[in-house]
């Protein structure tokens, strides 16, 4: 009999909703919540020996949370870890994806389940993820898919699209026979020969972002945000100039403007000469205050969020997006203007 550990969030563990999203990780013996049905589907060959659960906010808070979760998982010496289904829930999906990536890195077989459009999906890296429905009303069929994937993995099979596998298949560097210029000329000749399909790079799919419903900015709190790396002059948060791994929050309370010399951009992707001459060219605080005074903005958010959008990996950029959305929601911000460099 194979030993399976199941990872779920606080909601599906029956602890509570948003108010309990800060719950730290804990381990319970046997299946919990959706794990009970999953156990029925896996019996008698495989046993869910423990369930590790964690609140969504805590789990999405950073690498330490994932380490805590993985410590609890490892205590049960599982043959396989299963995470989710997370449906379209962003933070839960992020946690399942990160747990799956961490398990893969640690050599523990794993499968996570979430909807194809879950924003956390990409964080799984090369770890296997199978499709679930959009929401918990699709629990039954989602667990059927997940149980089949668990059985396949424990039988030593590789998960494919036939098992409902979703997510990016990693692209790895190879050394070609010819240099890129020679290959490009060969591709141009193929293209002239009528081949419209030939390419070395698949066309990327960008996320379909569902636009938020309109709001009246004069009635709500509006935030200003930037990926132009504008920080206090001494860069106290050590924001990177390229390939950022972090974002920062700096207060705007009591500030009417951003004087040159007190603020600067540490962005490494463009000349910061103009930004440093007048930091408002990156973060339009002066104009936003003016509009707040005239009532066009109900209230300007008391802080701004910043990162450096310069060669940032899509994985990190996606994480920043999820974290920014959560941070702004907690601050009751309803609209934001993000300057993009």
């Amino acid at each position: 009999m194979s030993r399976v550990v199941h990872y779920i969030n606080q909601f599906f563990a029956g602890i509570g909703g948003e108010d309990k999203a800060g719950t730290p990780p804990e381990s319970r013996p046997g299946p919990v919540g959706p794990g009970r049905r999953l156990q029925e589907l896996l019996a008698p060959d495989h046993e869910i020996v423990a369930t590790v659960l964690c609140g969504d906010d805590h789990a999405a808070s950073g690498p330490e949370a994932i380490e805590e979760i993985m410590r609890l998982v490892s205590e049960h010496d599982p043959d396989l870890l299963v995470a989710g289904p997370a449906f379209t829930s962003g933070r839960y999906g992020l946690a399942c994806a990160r747990v799956a990536a961490a398990a893969t890195a640690a050599g523990i077989p794993v499968v996570a389940a979430m909807h194809e459009e879950n924003p956390g999906l990409e964080e799984a890296g090369g770890a296997p993820v199978v499709a679930s429905g959009e929401a918990a009303r699709r629990m039954a069929q989602s667990l059927d898919t997940l149980a089949a994937a668990v059985r396949a993995l424990l039988a030593g099979e590789e998960l494919t699209a036939a098992h409902g596998r979703i997510g990016a298949i990693p692209r790895r560097v190879r050394v070609a026979d010819d240099d890129a210029a020679t290959r490009a000329v060969a591709l141009a000749m193929a293209r002239l020969g009528g081949d419209r399909e030939a390419t070395e790079v698949p066309l990327p799919r960008f996320d379909k972002v569902a636009p938020a419903a309109p709001v009246d900015p004069s009635e709500v709190t509006v935030a200003i945000l930037t990926e132009g790396a504008l920080v206090p002059d001494d860069n106290p948060g050590h924001l990177e100039s390229a390939r950022a791994t972090r974002w920062l929050r700096y207060p705007l309370e009591g500030l009417e403007s951003l004087p040159a010399g007190e603020w600067r951009s540490v962005h490494g992707g463009f000349s910061t000469q103009w930004a440093n001459e007048d930091p408002h060219r990156i973060l339009p605080l002066d104009a936003a205050r003016e509009l707040e005074e005239h009532g066009a903005i109900g209230r300007l958010h008391a802080a701004y969020l910043v990162t450096a959008g310069n060669g940032t990996s899509v994985g990190n950029a996606r994480r920043f997006g999820i974290e920014w959305a959560a941070d702004l929601r907690h601050s009751e911000v309803r609209a934001a203007i993000l300057t993009s460099t």
């Binding site: 692209r171 790895r172 890129a180 210029a181 290959r183 490009a184 141009a188 790079v201 990996s313 899509v314």
Partner: protein
Amino acid sequence: MGSVRTVPEQAPRLTRAVHGVTSVAMGDGTSYAGGTLTVSAAEAESVLADPALASVRVTWTSPGDSARIVKVLDAVEPRTKGPGGGGIFPGFLGPARAQGRGTTHVLRGATVVAAGYLPRAQEAVVEMSGPVAEMSPLGSRHNLVVEFTPAEGAPWEDVDRALRRGVIALAARLAEAALDAEPDEVEELPAVGGGDGEVDGLPRVGAVTNLQTQGNFKDVFVYGRSFGTALPTLLDPGDVDDGAVVSGQFGHPSLKNPTLVHQNHPVVAALRARHGTDLSFAGLVIAPEPVDAVQKDLVAAHAARVCAAAGFDAAVVTKEGGGNADADVSLKMDALEDAGIAAVGIFAEMAGPDGTGPPVVVPPERATAMVSAGNYDERLTLPEVERALGGEQVALLELPATAAMELPTAVIYCANSPLGWGRLTCAEAPTP
């Protein structure tokens, strides 16, 4: 069918007299004999002398050395057309006259490399041995590394200018040592861009080369002047052999095109290789990469018109720099395809360390043919080395420059060469 133009029997062409450099030494005088290039440090230092530089040091490092060059700036291949340069590097060493004719002497296998701190320059690393050496064009060459101490109070712009002028002058001076030597190879380059009996009826394929022109320390010079405010134009491919394009762009190490790579323009080389066989090399169009979105559109539209006027049937479009430069390639690819010209772009993938992110930041909307120059986020492990040139530390890691370290491919000089020098690509890997 248009009328076929006749080409004069003595069509103006460029000949490369290639002198291979197989070993190097320091000595009392500068000389070249039997494949050995000997350099006088005192003479090199006098060529490099400038009020903006307090001191300079020159040191050879060769393939197989347990050595690393950090803070690599520009790299130049020694070339000359005669005593005093004879017109090489037009606009820098002599008047800005059109070149690309006559004979150019090339010291193949040697490079003059500037290395050290400049503002806005991003940490750039070259390995002289080990698995990463072959990822940079400098890893297989004998490199005369120029280290420098700026003069007190000298503005950084002056230090940059002094280095550029000095490195070019030194490269020309070294090549002069081979003027009287019998070349190892004589390469007759095809005349390009006009009608030519042997290529009539073949598809006309050209190159569109974007130059990252984004202000001080991120600029590219054509005939000695910044190309930043220019519109796309045709350049005689022989002109790039003769150093009409000089790099002053020190951002995005793996995605940069130093002077060395322009001198040996990989797309031009690939087009010359097939010229007269199954294609006709239709020409080289150079274009700036503006920071301004409206200008990017204008430059793309104008580049497509220049290609159409030059009769291109297809074009290979290349870039320099990171994600925003993807837009310069993609906009041009779409504009070319709209004009009925098949477009192929070379892109370095930015797919994250695990290779699962979307590979291209700004993909074309209508064009589809893309060549991959590898994933710039992929991590590399560098072994400890005995000696480092260019600096004491690796800026990103605050480690001694000689230490073992893990770095993204992005930091390795020209490793994802957007001009197509390298052999890296990407392919889907099986499930881990």
